[in-house]
Each structure stands twice: as structure tokens, then as C-alpha cells.
Symmetry: C2
Subunit: 131 residues, 2 copies
Amino acid sequence: MSSSYSNYTNSPCAACKFLRRKCTSDCVFAPYFPPEEPLKFANVHRIFGASNVSKILHEVAPHQREDAVNSLAYEAEARLKDPVYGCVGAISVLQREVLRLQRELEETNVDLMRYASCLGGETSAYGGRRG
Amino acid sequence: MSSSYSNYTNSPCAACKFLRRKCTSDCVFAPYFPPEEPLKFANVHRIFGASNVSKILHEVAPHQREDAVNSLAYEAEARLKDPVYGCVGAISVLQREVLRLQRELEETNVDLMRYASCLGGETSAYGGRRG
């Protein structure tokens, strides 16, 4: 999506409405903060501040701005739900889940190798999986 | 750690030094931004802004402030390294890894059940693991 908002209408984007300023056709926020999603901007504004969001948008290539806004919106929502850990809480949960699955897979492979050795010559068919 | 900085000295904390303001004994930043770690504050300031960090610190209980600052510092560093995805990039990588491990474990369990059925009566010993 280009920074010049293709669906630009007379309604100000959610960011300009929130900041009570005129929304121009070259508004950096408009393509990513449509007026019908006011909470998306309110959240990123509350956690990062409008000027930091604008700075980040100017730092990244136009085709990456949508992804940047969506990841900022995700982080902001996570921080509002959990002011202590934000989305870092999700990272800890996922890291623990990866470790648990790796251990489980390792144990299952040990069982598999035990079966394979019971069946003797058939070991080549099931050589165990690597986690 | 309490909000009244026990190791308070005459050196201003990294936040007050950065913001060029007087660091008082009840400074909310001082316990978490020691003067010898100037980058920690510079990063969170650049991504969240000092006033948003201060707001978050006042929102959470004093015993959770250290965790809150560390998760904010982690998020800020991730966003500076990857302005498009920040630490949400790590979440995507971990989510894909969890899915891959779950599939791998499922396939290994199918192999295990096949072996168990070959060995007949011994199935109770290895009933397959749940991912």
C-alpha cells in the first residue's frame, strides 16, 4: 500500500480525528488507521505516542508500513491488557511451550528407538525423528 | 524493589541524566535505570517516550516495576533492531516452531503406535504421547 491513501475520502483518518487535526491527502497515518477503527490508533497512541509511531512509519519502506502498524497495534493491545509484561509475556509462554515439545519429542524418539530395537531388522524404517 | 531507591546516590539516574532534570529521591525511574546503563533508558525513551514509561510504572505495583521496565526495554530493543515487526517477529517465529514441533510429535506418535501394533500385547507400555 502506498503512503498516498488510495481510498482517501473527506472523513479524517482515526489518527487525525483523535489528534483533532486536519487530515491531508499525504497523511502518513491515513492508509493504516481508517476512521472506522478508532481504537487501533487510540491504543498505539497511548503506548507509543503519535510522534513515535509517525517516526517509525517514516523509517520503514512504504510497502512495509502496514505490517509495522499491525505489529505496533498488537504490541499496544498486549501492553494495555498486561501492563507488566505486554507481548513479552506471550514470548515467555511460547518459549516454554517449545521447550516442553522438544522434551516430549525427544522422549517419544527414545520410545521409538526402543521399539525399533525390539523389532530388530526393521529399524531402518523408523530411525527416529529429530526435533 | 520499592519505588524509593535504596541505593540512591548523588548521581542522577540514566533517565534524569537523559532528560536533563534533577533526580530526586522519589524519582520513579531511578530504581530501574541506573546511571551505568544509559542505553536502557535511551531505547525505551525512543520507542515509548518517557511520559508513557512513567505512566506504565505508576499503573503497576511497585514489586512488578522491575519486570515491567525489563519487558519494555526488551520490546524497545527489538523494535530498534526490526522497525517493521519488533518483538512480534519473535512471536511469529516461535508460533511456527510450536506448530512444527506439534506436527513432528504427532507423526512420531503415529510411528510409535504402528510399532506398538506390530508388537501386539505390549501396547500398554507405550501408549503414545500427547503433544
